[in-house]
């Protein structure tokens, strides 16, 4: 039985799955800078993009890679950059620019341990709050997370779709384990992949206003070079895209930037659950840790302990309603994560004291093992 018998099944590293997912999503521009453990995404696309008629460029630094990604998107190409912790920090200023100017793009951050240079080759989940709040100023953002190579493929496609739909940068988080694990990926038939493209202007250039009020709060940005000449600025701007100092207009803009994401929470958030219906103890886990949690649930259930798992595949907007619902049902919620409780803090807020929240943090560069979770479940029981 050769691979020809299974044309849609491939063995892929998570990072490669991101690159393949990006291509399937219609991504035709990548700008990056070398950094472990994400470089395979750039390496893979440096081969695949020119072959696909797309554009690859290795920039002089992480900041430039983010800038080029946004610039390319303004010409209409679906654009991607990928990085890891320190590089993610450097990209933050221009991620904010993309939030403010509402230019769709995708940023993949394969998380390693920090702070600073930290643990370049070891896994962590220490950037989950930076993904939400890394850039300065009030804004909202969409952050997805992948637990498997299959996820990496599918979530990259979803990241592009959400970016194009909501005209916003979308961040996809992998941890080093997911990025570097080679495993099975089932490639869906291209015709079955749903793709979303940004809206195009339906008025002639002379009537066009890039940030004109729309019912869905999402602007219509024309591609540069198509006859719709307009201005884009990171300053607070009016509906024509020019800087303003009018306080009421400023407030309207800043509120809308958050509202366009938050008011679509139900469309954006996505969770996987396991044995949650009758659970007495809940687990909240994401990324590679969710896989250890699944294993822990299976083992506990085999011993008759009623444990369930809530696994968000979108971290931001945070699934607060689902967490509250779980908190009302269970005696305690365990939050295993490869940091010192960054998402546990959110779980605590969302659960409104309905259940105690138990942190299970690990920051030594080792994965969280099913054993650790099982042990904590038994202590709680």
């Amino acid at each position: 039985m050769g691979k020809d018998n299974f044309p849609n099944v491939r063995m892929m590293q998570g990072n490669q799955a991101c690159a393949e997912g990006a291509l399937a999503a219609g991504c035709r521009f990548f700008a990056g800078y070398p950094i472990t453990p994400s470089s395979e995404i750039a390496e893979h696309l440096s081969v695949a993009l020119p072959r696909a008629g797309g554009k690859f460029i290795q920039m002089e630094d992480e900041i430039a890679a983010m800038g080029a990604t946004i610039g390319a998107s303004l010409t209409g190409l679906k654009s991607l950059t990928a990085t890891s912790g320190p590089g993610f920090s450097l990209k933050q200023e221009n991620i904010g620019y993309a939030c403010m100017t509402e230019v769709p793009c995708v940023i993949i951050n394969v998380m390693r341990g920090g702070p600073s240079t930290g643990m370049p080759t070891l896994p962590a989940q220490m950037d989950v709050q930076q993904a939400r709040w890394g850039t300065h100023g009030d804004h909202s953002i969409i952050v997805l997370v992948a637990a498997t190579a299959q996820d990496a493929y599918e979530q990259t496609i979803r990241a592009f779709n959400l970016a194009e739909k909501y005209m916003t940068p979308v961040i996809l988080l992998l941890d080093e384990i997911v990025g570097h694990t080679t495993e099975k990926v089932v490639i869906p038939d291209a015709s079955k992949i749903e793709l979303i493209d940004r809206k195009k202007p339906d008025v002639p250039p002379e009537e066009y206003k890039p940030y004109a009020e729309t019912e869905d709060l999402i602007p219509v940005l024309a591609n540069f070079g198509t006859g719709y000449k307009y201005n884009v600025t990171g300053l607070c701007h009016n509906e024509t895209g020019f800087p303003i100092n009018d306080n009421a207009m400023i407030e309207k803009l800043i509120v809308r930037l958050t509202k366009k994401i938050v008011s679509n929470r139900d469309d954006i958030i996505s969770n996987r659950t396991m044995s949650l219906d009758d659970a007495e103890i809940g687990i909240f886990a994401y990324g590679s840790v969710a896989r250890s949690a699944q294993s822990a649930v299976t083992r506990c259930r085999a011993e008759g302990i009623k444990v369930g798992l809530l696994e968000p595949t979108v971290l931001w907007p945070f699934p607060k309603d689902e967490v509250l619902e779980m908190a009302k049902k269970v005696k305690a919620i365990i939050v295993p994560e490869m940091n010192l409780g960054q998402m546990a803090r959110e779980v605590e807020l969302a659960s409104r004291c309905e259940a105690p929240i138990l942190k299970l943090g690990r920051v030594d560069g080792n994965p969280i093992l099913p054993d650790q979770i099982v042990k904590m479940v038994k202590e709680v029981v």
Partner: protein, 270 residues
């Protein structure tokens, strides 16, 4: 009379620049040069960073992108690489391009990507109130060098030449016609082109340096800037303290987006 209105966004005037600022002179020179090249305004993109010069795009009726401090060149690189059919002009300043954006500036020149960079050099951070920049001359005062600057300066044009730019020229707003000519040549050049434009800032630079009157700064430019032909005739001694203007380098070398296109075609032919 030349009709500037066709090229500007009239509704955004009056502009924000101070009285005596040279940026408006550059704007007019740029518009005339654009007209002379006959470029399509629909296919022209102007990208800027942060600072007084970087406010230029707001006044020009083409595709305009006002980005983050120092980052105009990376954004412009993304635009040009994604759609090489677009004519991409970068407008930046001495602080924007050679301090916070210095890395991007030299790498775009090295890469020789087809961008036309207009760098307004006014020797100061004007918009933030007159702080010392990489081109503030030694001994001159700034709000962060109140006892006189002690740091050596960048030779911006020299930096671009060393980094690999295919066209570099220096101009100044006192010689507005030459400025227009240099911008025109840069716009027509394939590859990374730079025009370093010396422009006065009476408000933030002149005021602290006994040249508060815009006329004084214009006279300074008149007395210090020497065009290429005249420069050749000057003795070593007479060149002391003078600044050479005109074309400083003009060479043909492989341009990035064309090289990328060749690579793509080769790969896709297989």
């Amino acid at each position: 009379m030349f009709n500037y209105l066709e090229y500007v966004r009239e509704e955004n005037f009056p502009h924000i620049w101070c009285s005596g600022c040279g940026d408006g002179i550059v704007l007019k020179a740029l518009i005339r040069a654009m007209e002379a090249t006959g470029m399509s305004r629909d296919e022209a993109v102007m990208v800027s960073g942060i600072g007084c010069s970087s406010r230029t795009p707001g006044y020009v009726d083409i595709n305009t992108l006002h980005t983050t401090h120092g980052r105009a060149i990376p954004f412009a690189t993304g635009v040009k690489h994604a759609n090489p059919g677009l004519k991409v002009i970068v407008v930046t300043g001495d602080g924007d391009a050679t301090a916070i954006g210095g890395n991007h500036f030299i790498h775009a020149a090295r890469r020789n990507i087809d961008l036309t960079v207009l760098l307004y050099n006014n020797y100061i951070y004007g918009m933030t109130g007159g702080q010392c920049s990489p081109t503030t001359p030694i001994g001159y005062k700034a709000s962060t060098a109140q006892f006189g600057n002690i740091e050596p300066t960048f030779n911006i044009s020299g930096l671009a030449i060393a980094a690999g730019a295919s066209f570099v020229a220096r101009a100044d707003v006192y010689n507005a016609k030459q400025c227009e000519k240099m911008i025109g040549l840069a716009l027509e050049k394939k590859g990374f082109s730079l025009v370093e434009i010396l422009t006065p800032c009476p408000t933030a630079f002149g005021r602290r340096n006994k040249m508060a009157s815009p006329v004084k700064l214009m006279e300074w430019l008149r007395d210090h800037v020497v065009s290429g032909a005249k420069w050749e005739k000057l003795s070593e001694e007479d060149r002391e303290g003078k600044i050479r203007s005109g074309i400083l380098i003009d060479v043909d070398k492989p341009e990035y987006t064309e090289e990328y296109k060749k690579l793509t075609e080769k790969l896709r032919a297989v």
